[in-house]
Structure formats: structure tokens, C-alpha cells
Symmetry: D2
Subunit: 356 residues, 4 copies
């Protein structure tokens, strides 16, 4: 089912394993004439990169991206754009132990049962390494959305474990701390918490929020291509995601209708709303308000603390995962959710052109 | 983009407006040989029907379903199955007021802006009437999943407003109360609450949970056709849905890795797990555990209590919605989430056959 | 694979068997605002209808089409348009003989082997009755293409058996003779030939040509969504089609490059070409010249003249097909190829909007 | 519309321009466990390569293929398989002349009008260089079809200009002459003809045939995913293709029904047929007979003989195309049509598994 392709008109096909020679993607359907270079992609990849602080994995991936096609004299031509990133920090090591083990909380068991074979090195295709390509393709979508509609996409860490990290929302500080937190005052608490967590060998979950400003009214396709439905799929397809909310999300469960519905007003030149519980989407179609999405990420299961698992023979084994893992995968998910939002918006925008 | 089609191999295309002559669907890709009759579909439609208690809308829809094609001598032939349901309770009334109004919290404004035209009668295509067809198609998927894999799908109301309705989970009582609550003891509280709510003219949100038992290991397609990603899209495409969780969902945010990861054990004949925070899905692929999905539904915005809205001319107007609306749309969503789960599972099952 | 859907943006899903209660289709992706009524569809259906002369099948199908959805106050709304046609001349007769027989040259054997079950009455879903819906959906596409781009689509019978029927191309007479021949002088010869053929109990093949005028430059999607590739699939998907040509087609085999390539000239306001061997398509994209497609239709295999066939048990049986069959199915294919051309053009037009 | 992807379950996405750094493809949906190495792909690429005789283009492309993903320890894993081929003979030369010219018979004009920009070097994405990737992906499909079903695919040159090259069909000699002709005795005539043609500076068309043996009954999806419809699209999507026939093809036009229909007989263990006018496909589904497809290729328009063309400014210019072009592009199309047949069969086979 071409299940490695995301999107319909703006369609991104990714390939590659964590420890293979390279990963890459093919972006089909990019409109011609967009200025594209590897630097704009690299700038986004750096935000997702490991090793930028002691709070994320210490792997060092160079993530030098090559543009192999679809760009001519600095501009997109409408032809498929292929991006390639070589895997440079795929340490050759002894995988004999992991080879025959199913780690709990991982794709090992299910993928092995499904395919009967797997590239177990570093998680192979199931590794979050794949999300590098989402960010790369997302960089192109972001650039186009910005150029054509002045759309701004902003992600941030909203919660880490039990610590709410966005009681203040000052987006100017998001890039200045290793947590993508929009509240500088919470950073010391996060650092203390993460240091202790790392020392304990455990991991923790996170909530990542994202918004898009300046999305025009009318994007989204009733009834099975709704903007919110596609955003839900986009976010839930990210490694470790367990929940997605649009606007008020699960808070809507306890709300009354009089409280939830966002009253409308005639603003200057545009419609205004008293609130945004809808998260910018009504009937699956963008309303002109900010698009608001919140995603829950589970704590990684790759821990040096032992857990009961199985081996291929079906025998119980104690699993200990060493290596350079993120104690909170949610942190580095911030540029990924931004990318997924950009990919969905761009695809929906192009689809919306068909009826006009 | 064929946005009125759900699924890829088992593909359901729905059509029809709330107040048009009929609604219907075409189910493409149903394997041949499945026993199908209108009674098995009707049995599911009744669960979703209005007017079964004073707590849901008082519209009376007969929902007599005709099978127009794809079934021969009581069995599916592999050809497209068309189902048709005439709209019998589409009261002809004066729509002159609603015609030019955009109701807050509804698709009126966004769809009008997108298409420049809309069938405003009863919400037209944006009406939850469309979900009747999901339930009808889902009845066929359920029957096939039961026959081929003994899969059982069970939905229930987990929360209504602030009332948690599933602290006990006794599924035998779900069909015996008008709320699909699995705890008979909570029913009086719900009745009291709903009676007061109805009197007040307000509405309330709900959380609806669903599980599937006996799903084999291996369903779901990495990395963009993941089972959880498609479930998220499926649930979020339902009218009024605002959030979706798989397994632990947003609770995973505050969990530690040692707490969240579900340790594995060698059971008799099958793999067992210490817990099911994953919700039965690892790496986007079913693990053999119960599939667990939770969906948040917002309170309906259609209230007789006035709210600020706009008309087509962009002028502010006070909106009052009369008519026969559900004070809690989440209640009747129970059979709908079951249907969407069945549709996703069946499609993924058929896709999984391709690689084996 | 949703194999009963044609098109991507403008997507037509058909359903129904020859002798079931009804046939119908759902047209998804029609832009809003197009004037649609059942009369414009009926006008095209009549061109394809049986029983208009002694040279086609004598079945009488009323083909009254109902519009069930997607049209409001006479205009398309952007929502799926469902069309329904009841089967009125499905004679209830004894099918006990055909039930267990595989007719040579028919889908009986292959579909039975594939599905293990089939609705054998009148060919069921394999019957050319399905093409009624292509013509119905094509009527809508034609209307839109005419309104938006002044595109004219004209099909004709180019050859019947060995008789070339378009040595003159006077399209004004196409509708005035029962053969869709653009040369009135050939009609007597055709009548004589067909009368003898019918008497003999045999059937004959035909070539049907179609052109589209005023197609703008730029429709078609490299490299697997080429306009010519999609036209080839469209025509070959029609019952009894065995070959498709674009422009010079198989004549290009014996041509030299200097002869085939269509030299370009600067015309008034538009590019002109010395010839049209390309058939209006270069590199899979329309060039502004007339789109030219030619399709070969085989003679029907349903004859009262006996032929060796098999029964379900695998035993050899003599097959004699009685009933009201067309001695030349190619004649009534003229409105069908027009419809398929319209469907492809409309879909490609909408897709082309995405990049502009 | 992801128009650079071919296939649905077994989906091949190609990228790359003739004179860019590399071309490549991503093959999604390959079942796990298939033995794959670069040598088996190389073996097919050599058959398509330029420079193997004086009768084809004298470019020297090394076509060293790298497997970047989806293959682990020599076997497919079910993950996307990325193939990469560097462009080594992309001579850096002065393209200033071709840059602003539209060559008749080429994609220059139509693609420029569609996209407003194009990589003109060597035809860019419109170059037949893209077909290298079809052959590469086809090599994998061929290997799987052979392993799973013992399917054999054989293409050959059937006609070159007016010379019929397959009056004898001795497939053992196809690889032994530079024309893929199955009749050794015609080779001298072909050589003489081609030498004269090359000297004259002109080009010529060709007909290429292909068959597949041992295809099981039941592949193909009614009614819009018919095997013949998809084969027609597949062949017509190849550069320079102008016509496609299945079985009797256009000869069916002049046939009588009694002549065309292939009578069935009860053979030993399998159904037999008196003839194969159907080309192995009935009702869009394979019948177990040989699949027979014939494709017409036009003569290349890239000639050193001048022709009237236009420049970007719309002015008439005389176009002379120098460079190393094939005087008959149809010759090297033989491995390409084989590959397209393999791709279609493999995709249809996997789709057929869904219903069983």
C-alpha cells in the first residue's frame, strides 16, 4: 500500500535503516519555482539533531543532506526531489545479543512476527532515525507555506513528565534552551529533573504542542480527508506517539456546549472568535484561527534498567539496553511535529486548489 | 482526492445529505463468500439510532437499509456492495433563517468559505447523519472479522462530562442502558445529570472507549500506515471528535519508562504481557494484546441558548438553534467508534495478506 | 484496491450488476457550482441505449437516472454526487443453464476462478451494463469541461469489420445514423453488412475514434500519470477493448522521424503544428492540439452459433448464447469512449491546478 | 498525485534527471525474504544499456546500482528498497542553444508550459534515462515472479520500420543479436537498414512484443483495475510509446466473433484454449494463457536533420539536434516492456492475495 509514503499531492516517500549506508526521501508534487538549498534543510535538521545537550542522545549524526534531483539552478522544477543523508555514526558493533531478542515496548516483536526478518541494528527501519527525513521534507513544506501564505509554524515542549513547561508561552526562548520550552523560568527545574532521571537510568514521557498561524479558511477535505483527521494520523505516525488532541482535546469531555463553542464576531477585515477550543478546525476544514495540535509521547523503553522480555525462541530473557538513548524522546519531537504539521498543511493546500 | 472514501483495500465511499432523498455507501473490496443481509446491518444501525431514549435526539429515522449490489444469494461476490437508506424523517420546514447564518462550532462557516455553496438543510453533508453509513459498513467488517478471526469489538461510554462511567467494566450491561455505560450503578447519576442538562438547554462532552480482542499479531503497516495512525485518523474523522488516545494515551506523558513499557512473558501458546500501556500496538503493528482506543467528543454547539454568530454578509447575529439535537453526541458515538475500529482492522488485515 | 473507482481527484465509483435491483455511481471531487440535472445525463445515456435501431441489442432499458446527493438547488456542492438507475428490463428467466457454464471469450471462467462465486445473471458485474454509469458520469465531466474550457469531445465509428467508416469526417451526421459514422455515404453499406451479419448469427469488431478540441497546454502528469497512459488505461478498461492508439499509433512503427515529428510554427496567438502524429500529447502532457485516441473493440463472443466451452465441473460443453446481444458492441462504444476521455481530462485538469 | 510512483501494493517511485548527480528509485511493498543483490539488477540493466552495438546510442553509462535500504543479509525485509545509480556520462557541455528551444516531438514545449521551468540538460526528467529505473525495479519483480510462480517474461522486437522481425519466433536468439529479434535470419537485413538509416540522419519506429508464461488464473481487478487496462497504462507511460495491444489487438476489428473467441477445452490438469486472441486476459483477469502485449514506439524526434521549432520567446527557429541518440528507440525498449509487464503482474498478484 505504499505505506512508506506520506501525503497525496505533496507526497513524501522515505527509505533507509538506522545502520544502513544511507537514509533518504523522495518528495513528489512540490510546485515548481520554490527556492531550495541544502542549507535550509540543514537548519531544521540541526534542531532535531542528537548531541546538542547532555539531555538528549549523545550520538553524533552529521546529517549532511544531498539534493539529488528535482532542483535546477536553485529552484524546484515540479519533478521529484530526492534527498540523501549518509549514516556516518552507525557504529559497527556486536549485535549478537539484540539480534535474537524482543525488547518490550519496541517494534522488535511485532515486526519480526509480521515480516519474519528484520534489520535489528539500531532498530533498523523502526528507529526514530526515520524522522530525520520528515524534518527534511518538512523544511521544504515550511518554506513554501511561508512564501505563499506567510504561514508560521511553532512547536514547543508543553509538558515533561509531570512538569508543565508552557505556563508562560514566550516563543522567543524556545530555541534558546535544550528543551524547546517556551518558558525560560522552568529550565532549571527541567535540568535538575533530567539530570536525576539520566542518573537513575529511567526515561519519561512528554507532551509536545504545535500551532500554525495564518492558515487560510478552507483547507481540509470532508469527510474522510478532514484536516484534523490527517493531523491525527500524522502525529500518531511518529515514533512513541500515544495521543493527539486538536484544540481543547480531551478537555472538551468535561465542557458544556456554551463553554466550548467559540462565538464568532465581525472583526476588521476578518472573522474573529471569542476563543479557540476548536483548534482552528470546524467540520474538518480550517477556520482561519490558529491550528492547535497536542501530541503525547511515551517514555522510551530502551533502558539500561532490566525488564522481562523474550527471545526469538519464545524464552523469557532479561533485557538490558545499553547505548546512547534519549531519556525523553519527546524533547527532540518538537521539530518533528512541526514538520508533520507542515506536510499536512501543504498537501491540503494543494488539494484545495483543485476545487477552485 | 476521493475524500469521501475511507480505507484502501476495503474501501467505503459514502454519499448523501441529511435532508436529501437518501444516503448510502459503496463498499469496495469485501472478500467474496461472506454472508450478508440487511438484518445484520439493521441490528447495528438500531444501536446508533435516535429516539431510543429521552437522552438522545427525538428524531425518528427508520434506517431501512437496501442492499443494491455485490451480494448474490446471500453472499458477497467480491463486487462493490452498495447500501441505500432513504431519509424518511427529513421534515420539510422553513430553513430561511439558518440558510444565511454561520453557527459557531459548526461546519457552516468553513464549508461555505471553501465551496461557496452548501446544502444547509439539517447540516447537509456535515450532519452526523453520515455516520449511519459508517455503522452500516462497519457491520459488514465486524461480521467478517468475527468469522475469520473471532475478533470481538466492544465500545462503551467512559466519561460523560465530569462523570466517569466505567470505573466498573461490565460489558454485559452496556446494551441495557441508554448510555452504553458498562457500570449499571452509574446510570441513575447519568439520568439525573442528563435530565438537568436537557432542561438547561446546554450540552456536554464525552469520552468513548473501544477495544478489540483477538486481533492477531502483525496488522499495521510501517511507517505511514501504522495501525495507531490510521485509528487516530478514523476516530478524528467522526463528527465532534477532538482527541484520540491509544493505550495509555496522554497518561504516558507523566509515566516513567520502567512504568510504561509492558514486560513480556512466555504464556501458554502465546506471548503475554504484564500490562497494556501500548494499547495493543508496537511500532504501528498489532501485538496480539487488546487494541485500546479512547476518543474525546466535544459538546454539540447546536443549542437553543443564544450565541454570537455571523451571517453570510459578515454581520453579527444572535444564533439560536432549535430542533431535535442530542445533548451529548458522545453517547451515540459508541457504535460509530466500534465501526471505525472494525473498518480499520479489516483494511489492515487485507493489506497484511499481501506480504504473506 | 478500490478497483471500482476511476480517477483520483474527480473519482467515479460504480456499482451494480446487470440483473440486480439497480446500478449506480458516486462521483467524488466535482467542483462546486456546476449546473447539473438528470436531463443532461439522460441525453448522453440515450446515445448509448440499446434498442434504438435494429443494429443494436433489442433490450429496452429506461435508464431513468436519479440524482441522490451532491446537487442542491440545481448546482453541485462539492459533495459526492450519487446517481442511481434502476434495472427495469432485467427479465426474470431461467438461468439454470448459464449458471454452471463458462462461456468462451467472457469473464465467466476467470471471475469464477478468482472469486469462487459470481452473479451469472446477464453477466452480472461483468456486463457492459456497467458502462452506462461511465456515460452518466462522463456527461457531468463533459459539461464542466465545456463550461470551463470550451472543450468539445467528439467520438465516431472509424471502422466496422473491414469497412472503414470515416474516410470522410463530417461530424454533423454522426448522430443521424445508427452507427455514429461521420460519413453518410457509408451507411447503406453498413446496413447491408449488419443485416447479413445478424442473420448469420455472428458478430464483428470495430474501431472507435475520439477527439477533444480546445484542451489547454499542460494537462498530464509525468512520468506515471501521463495523459496518454491514463487514456490508454481508460479505454482498455471498457468491455471488449483490445487496443489503444494515441495519434499515429501503430502507424508510427513504420514512420521515419522526419515524417512523424510535428514541426512547430508561430501561429496567431498560439503555437501551431504542421501535423498531429503526436495526437495532442508530448511527454505525457497536452500540447494544445486535438487529443486523438483510437480504440479497438473485439466482436462479442455471445453468439447463438455454438462453441466449445466448459462447465464448472471442468467438462466440455457446447455453448449457445441466446438473448438480445449486440452484433457489434463497438457501435454503442462511441459514447463510452467519449465519456472516458472526458473523465480523464477532467481529472487531469483538476490535478494540474495543484501546481499552479 | 504522486505521479512518479507506479503501482499500488508493489509501488515504485523513481527520481532523477538525465544530467543530475544521480537517478534512483524506491520500491515499496516488496515481500520479505526475497534474495536480492546488485548483480541481478545489473544483469537487466546491461540489456537496456547504450553503446552495446553501433545501432544504439553511443553514450556509455556504467549503471552501477547501489542498494541503499530494504535488503539485509542479502534478503528483502519488507521495508522500502532504495536503488541509486550515479550519472557518470553526463558530459558537461554547452547547453546554451537547447536551453531556450522547444524541440518538436519532445516534452520541451509542454513541460515548459506546465511548469514554467525545466532542467533542459539532456532532456532532464523527460529523458528515457528514467526507464533505467523501471528495468532495475523490474529485475526484482521478475525474480519474485519466477521464484513464486515460475513466471517467465520474454520480450522481443516484432517490427522495425516496415521490417517484420518475428516471422520466426526463436527466443533463444533474442539475446544474441543487437536487435532483440527472435529470428536470426532477419538480422542482416536489419543491420543494412540501420546502417543506412544512421547515415541518413533519420530515425524509425518499432513494435515491441512481450509475453508472460505461467501466470495463474485470477490476476486483475474488475472493473477499473483490469490487468489489460493497467498493462496499457504501463506500456503507454514509456517514452515514445504510441499504441498498445492485448492479444489480437487491432486485428480484432476485422474479426468475426466465431473467429475471435477462443474455444475452451478440458486439458490434462488445466483448461486449454484453441487460440489466444484474448492475449491471456478475459474480463480484465488473467486466464492462465500467455499474456500477450504489443507496443508501438515512434521514431525519435532528436535528429541532426533540421526541423521547424520554436524558442521560448515564441519565435520560429530551425532545430538541429546533435548528440548521441538512438536511431530506433524501440530496440532498447525490449527490456523496458518486460520490466513494465513484471511490475504490473507483481502488483496485481499481491492485490489478488487480499481476497483470498
Amino acid at each position: 500500500m505504499a505505506s512508506n509514503t506520506f501525503g497525496t499531492i505533496f507526497a513524501v516517500t522515505t527509505f533507509g535503516e538506522s545502520h544502513g549506508p544511507a537514509i533518504g526521501c523522495v518528495i513528489d508534487g512540490c510546485p515548481p519555482g520554490l527556492a531550495i538549498d541544502s542549507e535550509m534543510i540543514k537548519a531544521e535538521l540541526i534542531r532535531r539533531a542528537t548531541g546538542r545537550s547532555r539531555h538528549t542522545s549523545q550520538r553524533k549524526e552529521k546529517d549532511d543532506v544531498q539534493i539529488l534531483s528535482g532542483v535546477f539552478e536553485g529552484k524546484s522544477t515540479g519533478m521529484p526531489i530526492a534527498l540523501l543523508i549518509e549514516n556516518t555514526d552507525a557504529r559497527s558493533k556486536d549485535y549478537s545479543r539484540i539480534k535474537d531478542q524482543f525488547r518490550p515496548g519496541h517494534a522488535d516483536y511485532t515486526w519480526h512476527k509480521k515480516y519474519g526478518i528484520r534489520d535489528y541494528r539500531g532498530g533498523g527501519r523502526a528507529s526514530a532515525r526515520e524522522t530525520t527525513l520528515r524534518v527534511a521534507a518538512g523544511a521544504i513544506a515550511k518554506a513554501w507555506l511561508k512564501q505563499e501564505y506567510n504561514i508560521e509554524i511553532q512547536g514547543w515542549l508543553a509538558q515533561l513528565g509531570s512538569i508543565r513547561t508552557d505556563t508562560v508561552k514566550d516563543f522567543s526562548v524556545v530555541e534558546d534552551n535544550p528543551f524547546f520550552a517556551p518558558d525560560a523560568s522552568v529550565v532549571p527545574e527541567l535540568e535538575t529533573f533530567m539530570d536525576a532521571l539520566r542518573k537513575s537510568g529511567d526515561s519519561v514521557g512528554a507532551r509536545v504542542n504545535v500551532l500554525a498561524r495564518n492558515v487560510p479558511v478552507g483547507w481540509g477535505e470532508p469527510v474522510y480527508g478532514k484536516l484534523d483527521a490527517e493531523l491525527a494520523a500524522a502525529m500518531m505516525s511518529i515514533n512513541a506517539a500515544k495521543g493527539v488532541e486538536i484544540g481543547a482535546g480531551f478537555e472538551a469531555v468535561a465542557q458544556k456546549g456554551t463553554q466550548h463553542r467559540d462565538a464568532m464576531k465581525a472583526g476588521d477585515n476578518k472573522v474573529e472568535f471569542d476563543s479557540n477550543h476548536a483548534g482552528g478546525i470546524l467540520g474538518g476544514v480550517s477556520s482561519g484561527q490558529d491550528i492547535l495540535v497536542s501530541t503525547a509521547f511515551k517514555p522510551t523503553s530502551s533502558l539500561r534498567l532490566p525488564v522481562g522480555g523474550l527471545n526469538i525462541a519464545g524464552e523469557e530473557v532479561e533485557i538490558i539496553t545499553t547505548g546512547r538513548h534519549d531519556p525523553c524522546v519527546g524533547i527532540r519531537a518538537v521539530p518533528i511535529v512541526e514538520a508533520m504539521l507542515a506536510l499536512v498543511l501543504m498537501d491540503q493546500c494543494l488539494r484545495n486548489k483543485c476545487i477552485n
